[in-house]
């Protein structure tokens, strides 16, 4: 049979949360948080992304474990690209 059917109210609740988080991140960007600004913005963005992935994309209810493995692997590989490359740039300044 088909995949899990999510109740409409779950989708609406997620939507409301996403809208609120968008407002929060917009508002927070006006405040001077110095070095924490980037981290806060990225944490909020990641929370929103996770909500979309888990609920709108159905990953919370997905039946195949390999799907989860694939998603985690993709982000991990992105991490390899970003981290190892930045290692070079950051360490250029070390002497």
């Amino acid at each position: 049979m088909a995949g899990h059917i999510v109740p409409k109210r779950t989708y609406v609740a997620v939507w409301i949360t996403l809208m609120i988080l968008t407002a929060v991140t917009a508002a927070v960007s006006r405040i001077d948080l110095r070095h924490a600004s980037a981290a806060v913005a990225l944490i909020i963005a990641t929370t929103k992304a996770l909500l979309v992935i888990l609920f709108f994309m159905g990953v919370k209810y997905v039946s195949q474990r390999m799907t989860i493995v694939m998603i985690v692997a993709a982000f991990f590989w992105l991490g390899i690209l970003l981290v190892l490359s930045m290692l070079d740039y950051v360490s250029q300044a070390w002497r």
């Binding site: 692997a73 490359s85 360490s91």
Partner: protein, 542 residues
């Protein structure tokens, strides 16, 4: 066996089930698509080989007297681009993998047959763009497209070449996607992961690299195109950009790409070595895990191509150390192939001759890679012929030879015909001799200081260069021979039985050639891979 031969000729199979160009160009049968790929990559091999011949002709003499310097730059650029993107990367996966993987796992086709056909068309589109680039003046950036040379200083068809490779890249991505889903979801009952032939494991590991690495190449090429077309400054120091960023993005794919090229060949070698030693593979689990380890670790070493480009010393140290790690699983595989042969009942059929060649030549190429991973040595030999020899030992001595091993091994299955064994042996020998004569002198040349990508050189290097060119002509003869006798065999070769080698594997339980849907009934697997201790058949008399 006479009745079997008659039955083979009359029995409906994937080749004779439908005739006409439309039935081929619109096919979704993975076996027909494999043959479409075979024709395409053979054509591109000729093109790439033609450029190689011109390069070696120029290098017969120290002076630059055959072609102009700019032309020479085009020759080595297009030799590399065509060979890598239009021959080596598709070769084993798209020809042998496409043909065999569904049959080896007991399925009727790949998971997405129409996407499989799309993959072939994408390679054709990319190849056409590449031919257009070649015929309208070519490109001379080096296959590596380094910036800002490629973005700000050249007037050749950089964007066209980049687009050709971009499109071919998506062909590769879709093939990898298809294989991963197929191997996960379409295995027959009883075909567990630990019973899969290593050829399947090898293509699986390759597919992981294809889907995670190739997109980064795609975006690098797009950014080069933007820099050129709109005068953006992603990689141009004069516009605020960093050339090293291009190299990070480019090599993030292009290093794992070499594992895309070699892993399927390793899969072929495992199949051939077991069959012609009449033995199970030594250390199946380690062989499978080594394939995955190579695929994963291969993503962590890319900046070893950038040791002298301006990366930080600390990055250099990290990438050098990681490069040593990636050699370990490859070494494990070489030891295990050797251990498989030990006390085996060896026969010297053509596929096995190629397999022997692979094990030796890949080892040489691999250990010279370790030399290059050492920072100190790399500073001395980077951008010399030492590097050229290193990667040709792996790509030609390893990969091309493995591809020929696979073509010969599965030719009876694919075509329903046997190739002439005597000619096969001779060609293998000629290729082995020609290969070593071509590329061993290049190790010496590189160590002595001859730079790569130069169209003239100091007179004291001439003897070695002449030897290398002599080897290249011998190699060319060796390559022509299989092309001729494979074609000959399609008409005049002895009809092949279902299992001429008495080999293990589901593909050998189907007729030669197989019917369109591979199996009349889905097989149920109850035996382990390489069960040579249980197989009662004997190889056919040759």
């Amino acid at each position: 066996m006479a009745t079997a031969a008659v039955q083979t000729a009359e029995r409906e199979n994937y080749l004779n089930t439908e005739y006409g160009i439309k039935s081929w160009l619109l096919t979704t049968d993975h076996k027909r698509i494999a043959l479409l790929y075979l024709i395409a990559i053979t054509f591109f091999f000729f093109i790439g080989g033609f450029f190689a011949l011109l390069i070696r002709l120029e290098l017969l003499t120290p002076a630059g007297d055959l072609v102009q310097a700019d032309t020479y730059n085009k020759l080595f650029t297009m030799h590399g681009q065509v060979m890598i993107f239009f021959f080596l990367i598709p070769a084993v996966p798209a020809v042998l993998g496409n043909f065999l993987i569904p049959i080896m796992i007991g399925a009727k086709d790949l998971a997405f047959p129409r996407i499989n056909l799309l993959s072939w068309y994408l390679l054709m589109v990319g190849g056409t763009l590449m031919m257009y680039t070649i015929l309208t003046g070519g490109v001379d950036t080096g296959w590596t497209f380094y910036t800002p040379l490629s973005t700000a200083f050249l007037n050749t068809h950089v964007v066209a070449a980049a687009l050709a490779i971009f499109v071919a890249g998506f062909s590769s991505i879709l093939t990898g996607l298809n294989f991963i889903v197929t191997i996960h979801r379409m295995r027959a009952p009883g075909m567990t992961w630990s019973r899969l032939p290593l050829f399947v494991w090898a293509n699986y590991a390759t597919s992981i690299i294809q889907i995670l690495g190739t997109p980064v190449l795609a975006i690098s090429l797009v950014l080069v195109a933007l820099d050129r077309a709109f005068r953006f400054g992603f990689f141009d120091p004069q516009r605020g950009g960093d050339p090293l960023l291009f190299q990070h993005l480019f090599w993030f794919y292009s290093h794992p790409a070499v594992y895309i090229m070699i892993l399927p060949g390793m899969g072929v070698v495992s199949e051939v070595v077991t069959c012609f030693s009449r033995k199970r593979i030594f250390g199946y689990k380690f062989m499978a895990l080594a394939l995955i380890a190579i695929a994963v670790l291969g993503f962590l070493v890319w900046a070893h191509h950038m040791f002298v480009a301006g990366i930080s010393l600390y990055a250099g140290l990290a990438f050098s150390l990681l490069s040593y790690f990636v050699a370990v699983p490859s070494a494990i595989k070489v030891f295990n192939w050797t251990a498989t042969m030990y006390k085996g009942s060896i026969s010297y059929d053509t596929p096995m001759l190629y397999a022997f060649g692979f094990v030796g030549l890949f080892t040489m190429g691999g250990v010279t890679g370790l030399f290059l991973a050492a920072l100190g040595i790399d500073v001395h030999v980077t951008d010399t012929y030492f590097v050229v020899a290193h990667f040709h030992y792996i790509m030609v001595g390893g990969m091309v030879i493995a591809y020929l091993a696979g073509l010969h091994f599965w030719w009876p299955k694919i075509s329903g015909r046997m190739y002439p064994e005597g000619w096969g042996n001779l060609a293998a020998l000629i290729i082995f001799v020609g290969f070593n004569l071509t590329f061993f002198p290049q190790f010496v040349l590189g160590y002595l200081g001859m730079p790569r990508r130069y169209w003239q050189y100091k007179p004291e290097f001439q003897v070695l260069n002449v030897l290398s060119t002599a080897g290249a002509t011998i190699l060319a003869v060796g390559y022509l021979m299989p092309m001729i006798y494979f074609l000959w065999s399609m008409r005049y070769g002895k009809p092949a039985p279902d299992n001429p080698w008495a080999a293990a594997g589901l593909e050998w339980t189907t007729p030669s050639p197989p019917p369109t849907f591979n199996f009349d009934e889905t097989p149920v697997v109850t035996w382990e891979a390489y069960n040579y201790d249980q197989i009662k058949e004997v190889p056919v008399e040759r």
